[in-house]
């Protein structure tokens, strides 16, 4: 325990509370809901997108921030290039790709940030403090941990397919789906069994209340960042309302 605490301190300069991250995620879902193409709202949107990039760098994961920045700039450049020079089916496809990246950029970076910097036990501690039902908390925690695993397993399946030379499943849609899905399901089921065995040995099924060694708390930095994000969201909604966009 002592070593893990030291590790946490040297790992980054700012370590936010998981609840702050959740709050930012909720605010971003409002931002993503409203489309903005130009004007002051777009500038606010870009600023809001790059705050988590900054935060993820401050937590010592500079490579994630760098990768996202490259992706974002590439998407922006490709979008303006495609609008001017490429049309037809290829143009539509590229536009769609850029649109998805630009539209969901805040959520993409935020989810990436949350998953890469929040430990599962920290997340559980935060959910406990928020009085979330334990079942829901466990399910979401397992899901969060499982997304990267799924990607990894998918890469193994793809490698195995390439080795046998059946990348495209013979061109049939049904085969393309089943060749990927069935092996993936087989491995996920065995991983699930292992996970539940591991969880039971750690006393997850016990009827008593679980304790947690993670120290989480709302500090000054959490307040500052939460307030900044909140104010920015209000401005964003205000400016896009002026333009007459409808919000739900």
């Amino acid at each position: 325990m002592e070593t893990s605490r030291k590790e946490k301190k040297t790992n980054g300069w700012i370590h936010l509370d998981p609840r702050t991250k959740l709050l930012i995620l909720v605010l971003f879902s409002v931002v993503v809901m409203i489309d903005v193409v130009d004007g002051p709202a777009l500038i606010i949107r870009i600023i809001m997108t790059f705050i988590p990039v900054f935060l993820v760098c401050l937590e010592g994961k500079i490579h994630i921030g760098a990768r996202f920045t490259v992706l974002y700039i590439l998407g922006m450049w490709l979008q303006s290039y495609t609008q001017k020079h490429i049309d037809g089916v290829v143009g539509m496809f590229l536009l769609f790709l850029c649109y998805m990246i630009m539209q969901f950029a805040p959520t993409i970076i935020m989810v990436w940030y949350c998953i890469s910097t929040t430990r599962i036990s920290e997340f559980m501690a935060a959910m406990n403090r928020l009085h979330t039902p334990q079942g829901l908390a466990i399910s979401i925690a397992v899901m969060m941990r499982f997304f990267p695993t799924l990607g990894e397993e998918y890469r193994y399946v793809r490698d195995a397919m390439r080795m046998r030379g059946i990348q495209f499943g013979g061109g049939k849609v049904s085969r393309m789906i089943t060749y990927r899905m069935i092996p993936l399901l087989f491995s996920t089921i065995s991983i699930g069994d292992e996970l539940s065995a591991a969880a039971v040995t750690r006393g997850l099924g016990a009827p008593t209340r679980r304790t947690n060694v993670c120290e989480i708390g709302f500090h000054k930095k959490d307040f500052v960042i939460a307030i900044v994000m909140f104010v920015l969201t209000i401005f964003y909604v205000y400016f896009s309302l002026q333009k007459g966009n409808v919000i739900l």
Binding site: M33, D35, Q103, I138, F146, L195, V200
Partner: protein
């Protein structure tokens, strides 16, 4: 008896895993959507059919009330985070609870009830159309400004309107039932041999 009916840690882990798979599969289908407006309209058919395979495996592991409900709550949260708003939340959670009740009436073993229950569960897909229907004008405008082809947008909004919304709901249900049958067949072919189901 009461002990057995309560959800255990094992069940929560199963919920987490299968919800993750469900979400990833539907996200992949969503990503193909903007290629053509027909694919967007086809979500109602494609998502229930393709996710039928993992979901049937999931149903084979369900024995207690509440698992489908929790899945639908998580799906609703994810839909909110991915910018679909809160309008679809009641539909999603309602579909989950309804599916759970139907499956429970068959004690989670009856084949007919499982198929019906999955059809009902698939109604959540219709929730992701709601922002498209309700904010049609603003959405249209933003797509146009984003540089989309005008004909693409026209086709999309001719297919998905308030009038066709009930048809979309029925589509979800019917393709859910088809997806359940396909999923059952695939599970029988691949997983029963391996002794997993």
């Amino acid at each position: 008896m009461n002990e057995k009916k309560k959800l255990q840690a094992r069940d929560f882990i199963t919920i987490g895993i299968f919800t993750a798979i469900l979400w990833i599969v539907q996200l992949v289908i969503m990503y193909m959507g903007y290629l053509s407006p027909f694919i967007v309209a086809g979500y109602a058919v494609m998502i229930p059919i393709v996710t039928g395979i993992p979901m049937m495996l999931y149903y084979a592991r369900i024995e207690k009330f509440g698992m489908l409900t929790i899945t639908s709550v998580i799906v609703a949260i994810l839909l909110f985070i991915f910018g679909m708003g809160l309008a679809g939340t009641p539909i999603t959670i309602g579909a989950g609870i309804g599916a759970d009740l139907i499956a429970r009436s068959g004690k989670y073993k009856s084949k007919v009830k499982t198929v019906l229950s999955y059809g009902f569960f698939s109604l959540w897909v219709s929730a992701s159309y709601l922002p498209l229907v309700i904010t049609a004008d603003a959405y249209k405008e933003s797509l146009l400004e984003g540089g989309y082809d005008a004909s693409f947008i026209d086709t999309l909004f001719r297919i998905v309107t308030t009038k066709t919304y009930p048809i979309i709901i029925i589509c979800c249900f019917v393709s859910g039932i088809i997806g359940a049958f396909i999923g059952k067949a695939v599970a029988k072919k691949n997983f029963e041999k391996a002794g997993i189901v």
